[in-house]
């Protein structure tokens, strides 16, 4: 997977490039609008991450040029201004998502994965990670053959974690996907919900599936490679 990052602020840019590269993405990083447009038009990228304020051309102009050339690569905007007009303008021009600075890197990574997954979604009736099974049709969860009783929201939470097994999901993304809550809650709602889910899913088993990644979010995976 190849990502083009256009970001003029050098500290932000280098951290983002490092983070994305370490997450397994091939990342091109340019620092001005003109080369950004050139790379976007010629390079074969799977995703464009554009800053709005850039020297030369701004992010919107790059996006316009890209869409004009008929390239439908997903675009994620980074904006320092959380003005609604900016948000609306970006989305109107054909951006797929936006992030307001400052943002958590986990949040960016989760969104990048969401955008890259788009179009690859499969219809499944059954999700399985290790000995944990989720029957989506009958709304049932089983661990090692034992039935687990879950509330509707717990089921939705587990489904999200299993669908994106191995990915670290930030709290804000979980709140948005499971509860459709898109504001920055100042309570530990997701933390508590995960704790309760873990009690039901992991408590009676030696192999832990749901892990907390400090400072990043939560991940459900079979091996215990992460700390």
């Amino acid at each position: 997977m190849k990502i083009l990052l256009v970001e003029d602020e050098s500290k932000t840019g280098s951290y983002l490039k490092q983070g994305l590269t370490e997450a397994g993405y091939l990342t091109d990083w340019v620092q001005d609008g003109l080369s950004g447009r050139e790379y976007a038009l010629t390079g074969d990228h799977d995703l464009l991450i554009l800053d709005v304020m850039l020297p030369g051309l701004d992010g919107w102009q790059i996006l316009t040029a890209v869409r004009h050339a008929g390239i439908l690569t997903p675009v994620l905007f980074l904006t320092a201004r959380d003005q609604v007009e900016d948000r609306v303008k970006g989305l109107e021009l054909g951006a797929d998502d936006y992030l307001v600075k400052p943002f958590a890197f986990a949040e960016l990574l989760a969104r990048v994965r969401t955008l890259l997954r788009r179009g690859h979604a499969r219809e499944e009736n059954m999700l399985q990670v290790a000995d944990l099974e989720l029957d989506l049709r009958r709304r049932r969860a089983m661990r090692a053959g034992q039935r687990i009783d879950l509330t509707a929201k717990e089921f939705a939470l587990l489904e999200l974690l299993m669908r994106r097994s191995g990915e670290v999901l930030p709290r804000s993304l979980i709140a948005s996907q499971v509860w459709d809550m898109n504001f920055d809650s100042d309570t530990n709602v997701v933390e508590v919900a995960i704790k309760r889910l873990r009690n039901k899913v992991d408590a009676n088993f030696s192999a832990q599936l749901i892990h907390t990644v400090r400072g990043m979010g939560y991940v459900l995976e079979a091996d215990n490679a992460r700390v």
């Binding site: 958590a104 809550m181 504001f183 309570t187 508590v192």
Partner: protein, 463 residues
């Protein structure tokens, strides 16, 4: 300076104009009555002469050109140089005449003696003004008497000029006096201006004296003082807010600095460094959230814009929030119930945030095992949402302050959760942006927040 620019100028000008009008009116009245008086005097004199002449001519048998009668008439009229007398006999012959002026014919037509006195006429001859009357007597004579009133006219003329002069001078004096009076009358205003000019952000405690101020200026002074009170209050809050903000930011940054310095003071293993970075991250995250909240509130101070007004089902939102906070509530064995419904026009995300903050607050301050009750009512065109919880009581004097930024019911309590202390302030500004208001009540450990919000009247933005 235009006249309308100065109250003193305007008042004194008006004053002198009114004075001039009054003086003019008085002058006209005096002038008319003096004239009337002269007419009466002339009438009396003419009538007297008339009767005298009639008396002399009373004997029918003595012709008027008789020397004796002529002598008598001349004796009677001697010394009256202003007098003009013409006597004709029944045949129209002039039998006696004295004085130099002629009497015009239209004066001489009156036949009746009583009417003659009423019908006194005026005429001008040889540059002199005369007044006179005429009539036929019973003895067949026609008597015409005139009197030169030129000296009266001259007197009246001089009198008119005097009146004009007195009126003009009086008006001018009144204008000057009026100017002084108005200037003096407005002195309290200047004093107010003087005091007001000394009021600055550092000296907001200064107030206009209410005790010895004119009644007319009392309202102005009172509203001015009230404005100063409000300004002082806002300024007080603002400076408290600034120091709170500095404090709120300083504490976590101090912690970060200290932790980093201690960590760097000797070599440690990778796991320890990782722990330190994680701990730092939590702190950074909280700082970032606080800054985002502060920005939101700063924008709200300039009038929050509601960009996407759409119908919002409050029951649906409250229920969704209940589900969202279910796990947190369950940790404290707190339950949640939603009753009633209303649909309002607003920004769904913002309303979610506003209600979410209230929920989080309610759960935070609820006692174990209590119930949070949400009630939604539609009254006329307003939606009324109440959120009620049992728990920590809030002192009555602190109730209005719970919406203040960084407000803490217990000043000594340290914030040990993720809260930024801005939640309720944000809730309030969102409700205000929707044209509504929020109040807090506390009674016997039951804390109730009441939101009143118009259902449809959203017009873009609001301060």
């Amino acid at each position: 300076m235009r006249v309308s620019d100065s109250i003193v100028l305007r008042t004194s000008l008006l004053f002198s104009l009114l004075t001039a009008a009054v003086v003019l009116l008085m002058g006209i009245v005096v002038r008319v009555s003096v004239d009337d008086h002269f007419v009466d005097m002339d009438r009396a004199q003419l009538s007297g002469k008339f009767e005298l002449i009639q008396h002399v001519l009373a004997d029918k048998n003595v012709p008027a050109d008789n020397v004796r009668i002529r002598q008598q008439l001349e004796d009677a009229l001697v010394g009256h140089h202003d007098l003009v007398v013409h006597i004709h006999d029944a045949n129209g012959n002039l039998v006696f005449s004295t004085g130099h002026a002629a009497i015009p014919n239209d004066v001489l037509t009156e036949k009746n003696a009583e009417n003659a006195a009423k019908n006194i006429q005026r005429w001008t001859a040889d540059g002199m003004v005369y007044r006179g009357m005429a009539t036929d007597t019973e003895t067949g004579y026609h008597i015409a008497v005139g009197i030169n009133i030129h000296h009266h006219q001259e007197f009246l003329h001089a009198f008119e000029w005097q009146l004009l002069f007195i009126g003009g001078a009086g008006s001018l004096i009144m204008a000057i006096l009026g100017w002084f009076a108005a200037k003096r009358g407005l002195r309290p205003v200047q004093e107010m201006a003087h005091i007001a000019s000394h009021i600055s952000a550092q000296q907001l405690q200064e107030r206009l004296p209410i005790n010895n101020i004119p009644v007319e200026l009392l309202t102005l002074a009172e509203s001015f003082n009230a404005m100063l009170d409000r300004l002082g209050d806002s300024l007080q809050r603002l400076s408290e807010f600034s120091s709170d903000l500095a404090h709120e930011l300083r504490t976590p940054i101090n912690n970060l600095m200290m932790q980093t310095q201690v960590s760097l003071s000797k070599p440690r293993d990778a796991a320890t460094y990782r722990d330190i970075l994680y701990a730092n991250f939590d702190e950074y995250e909280r700082l970032a959230r606080m800054i985002a909240d502060m920005l939101f509130l700063a924008k709200a101070d300039h009038g929050l814009v509601i960009p996407h007004a759409e119908p919002v089902n409050l029951f649906h939102e409250a229920t969704a929030l209940c589900e969202f906070y279910e796990a947190v509530a369950a940790e404290k064995s707190v339950t949640c119930s939603v009753a009633g419904n209303a649909i309002i026009h607003g920004d769904k995300l913002m309303l979610q945030r506003a209600l979410g903050n209230l929920f989080a607050n309610a759960i935070r301050h609820s006692h174990q095992g209590s119930c949070i009750k949400i009630d939604i009512q539609m009254k006329n065109t307003q939606a009324i949402i109440t959120i009620e919880n049992h728990g920590d009581a809030i002192a009555p004097e602190q109730l209005p302050r719970v919406f203040d930024r960084f407000y803490r019911a217990d000043a000594s309590r340290q914030r040990n959760d993720d809260g930024t202390g801005l939640g309720l302030a944000i809730t309030q500004s969102i409700i205000h942006a929707h044209g509504g208001y929020i109040t807090a009540h506390c009674e016997n450990g039951t804390t109730r927040f009441t939101i009143t919000i118009p259902a449809t009247t959203l017009q873009g933005n609001n301060g």
